[in-house]
């Protein structure tokens, strides 16, 4: 057996090139955040890291950039967390409840309920964006966390995922539970939920990332700067780069990095759950 194969080298070269393409653009943002704004404005991204990161971080997190003085990086981070967690938890809880009802109960209108829920998979929020905005406005939910989160939950991806999972749970379990005298609520909380733990974790990661990364919906329904999320704030940040004498590249780039950090870390640390959830739920 040969120790060295040319084709293996080619494989590694291709993979390394691919990895570089994925990493370099974000390193470039980080490099720009580490130098002074004047330096960036003159030369753009360079090859050497500077020492400005703490200063720019301080500015990005605690200095307000809007008119109202309310949208500091910290405030936007807080709002993003609420959106990410609220969306993921809400979607999982509601989805599991509905899936449990569909799979484990004799319902007269089960087929109807199924189709009503199924249709939501077809039309993303982007398509019905304006009427959704009007309705949220009518309900007085603009600039509220409920208005931010609940309309995003109106799509049944999690329900379908849990429906599929519940159907793969052996029938014997429920029979045994009934013989032991467990009612439907007890069966759900004591048996089904613990059984779904890894699935819940996988779903949580995917949904958190999805909620955190929302852009269009938060852009439409939050006008109050205190309600901006990081991803929504990016629009504001890049727009203030135009027109000012010395654009604050450092601050802006640090904010972009902070905006991608939590979801990226979650995906990296929980990648096996994430991959499992992604590949098993969508098929």
């Amino acid at each position: 057996m040969k120790l060295f194969k040319f084709s293996t080298l080619v494989d590694h070269v291709i993979l390394i090139l691919g990895s570089l393409v994925m990493i370099l653009p974000v390193l470039m943002l980080l490099q720009m955040a580490s130098t002074t704004d004047l330096e960036t404005m003159r030369n753009g991204p360079g090859l050497v890291f500077g020492d400005q990161i703490p200063i720019n971080f301080e500015k990005a997190m605690f200095e307000a950039s809007g008119f109202s003085g309310e949208n500091t990086g910290l405030r936007m981070l807080y709002n993003s967390m609420i959106l990410g967690f609220g969306f993921a938890v809400g979607k999982i809880v509601i989805g599991m409840m509905a899936a449990y009802a569909i799979v484990y109960f004799r319902l007269r209108f089960a087929t109807l309920a199924f189709w009503i829920i199924f249709t939501t998979l077809l039309l993303p929020l982007e398509v019905r964006i304006l009427p959704s905005y009007e309705i949220v406005q009518k309900l007085g939910m603009l600039n509220t966390y409920q208005g931010l989160i609940i309309p995003l939950i109106a799509s049944a991806t999690a329900t379908f995922f849990f429906r599929q999972f519940f159907r793969s749970v052996p029938e014997e379990l429920i029979e045994a539970a009934r013989i032991d005298g467990a009612g439907p609520v007890k069966f759900f909380i004591d048996i089904l939920v613990p059984l779904s733990r890894t699935m819940i974790a996988a779903m949580f990661i995917i949904m958190f990332v999805y909620g955190w990364n929302q852009y269009l919906w938060p852009t439409m329904i939050t006008t109050d700067e205190g309600m901006f999320t990081l991803v929504r704030g990016i629009k504001q940040i890049t727009q203030t780069l135009e027109g000012t004498n010395l654009p604050e590249y450092g601050k802006s780039n640090i904010l972009q990095i902070i905006a991608i950090l939590p979801p990226v870390l979650i995906v990296i640390f929980f990648q096996s759950w994430f991959v499992k959830g992604l590949t098993e739920s969508d098929k």
């Binding site: 993979l15 691919g18 484990y104 077809l122 304006l130 009427p131 109106a154 990364n213 629009k235 990296i268």
Partner: protein, 293 residues
């Protein structure tokens, strides 16, 4: 429905209630509202509306701007899908082959999944910056005077590059798990039958990957149509005037910025029909052509 299910009457209704009420209020109501307003002409100052029948639709079909967007959407979707699928397949095949560092490569190639589309858009703005953008300077070496936001073609190029970059991880993850689920016995049998690596891939691996690839095709089309909104909005810096844009972005621009509610609703309805057609197509194709193992 499980054979041994419960027959409690009120509990399932209670369990379904949150899901159904959210869907009714925030899905069906707006969808119905869109269909209704597509037949009306709204007064821009909010004083009432007039029934105009199919006029909003007729206006779309004769609007050169709309048709130009439709054309761009088709090209954009096609290029993003084909490029990101083929590059991801190449990377997945290589990552599946290597033994050393496989996990590291997987991590490095998938984390961009979690990057928000507008941040990807900002990265595009930096790469193609007019004064010092690294890619702009690189293209300059070949005499290509790249002008983002000014030249239609150049802006489209930047959008597609960023959209492909952002979509690579999803396709990579699916292809890699598809490849890794091919049983070892099948691979060994193929190795005996066919000595050439490429022939083996084409005759054995590729057909086994076909269900994954078809599923990804639909996912990619949906991505290019809808999830690229953040990228496009950032790249055109909110100045869509002469820049390329997709149909979904136009719904937002015409309706939210231009206050043409009827026209925007008609555009929404056209997109809804498009997505429905895509779904029907997906089901039929899955039934007929592709056999899951």
């Amino acid at each position: 429905m499980k054979r041994a299910g419960f027959s409690t009457r009120w509990l399932p209704i209670l369990l379904l209630l949150p899901q159904l009420s959210i869907i009714l209020v925030f899905f069906y109501w707006p969808a119905a509202h869109a269909v209704k307003s597509s037949f009306y002409l709204q007064d821009p100052f909010g004083f009432g509306e007039t029934f105009v029948g199919a006029k909003n639709y007729a206006a779309l079909l004769t609007s050169s701007a709309y048709l130009r967007s439709a054309e761009f959407t088709v090209i954009f979707t096609l290029l993003v899908t084909v490029l990101s699928l083929s590059i991801a397949l190449l990377l997945a095949v290589k990552a599946d082959k290597v033994i050393k560092g496989a996990k590291t490569y997987r991590t490095l190639l998938m984390w961009v999944y979690a990057v928000a589309p507008p941040v990807a858009g900002v990265i595009g703005l930096v790469l193609f910056d007019q004064t010092w953008g690294p890619l702009k300077e690189f293209f300059g070496l070949f005499g290509w005077d790249f002008r983002l936001g000014v030249n239609y073609f150049d802006t489209a190029f930047a959008m597609i590059t960023v959209a492909v970059w952002k979509q690579l991880p999803v396709n990579f993850i699916f292809f890699l798990s598809g490849l890794q689920s091919i049983p070892k016995s099948v691979r060994e049998a193929a190795l005996i039958d066919n000595r050439s690596g490429f022939g083996r891939f084409w005759d054995v691996t590729f057909p086994l990957l076909a269900p994954t690839a078809f599923f990804l095709l639909i996912i990619n089309i949906t991505y290019a149509l809808f999830d690229t909104f953040g990228i496009i909005d950032t790249v055109v810096k909110g100045e869509p005037s002469n820049n390329p844009m997709t149909l979904v972005y136009r719904v937002y621009v015409d309706g939210f910025r231009g206050n043409d509610l009827g026209g925007s609703s008609a555009q929404s309805v056209v997109l809804m029909v498009l997505v429905l057609a895509l779904t029907v197509f997906q089901f039929r194709m899955v039934e007929r052509r592709i056999h899951y193992t």
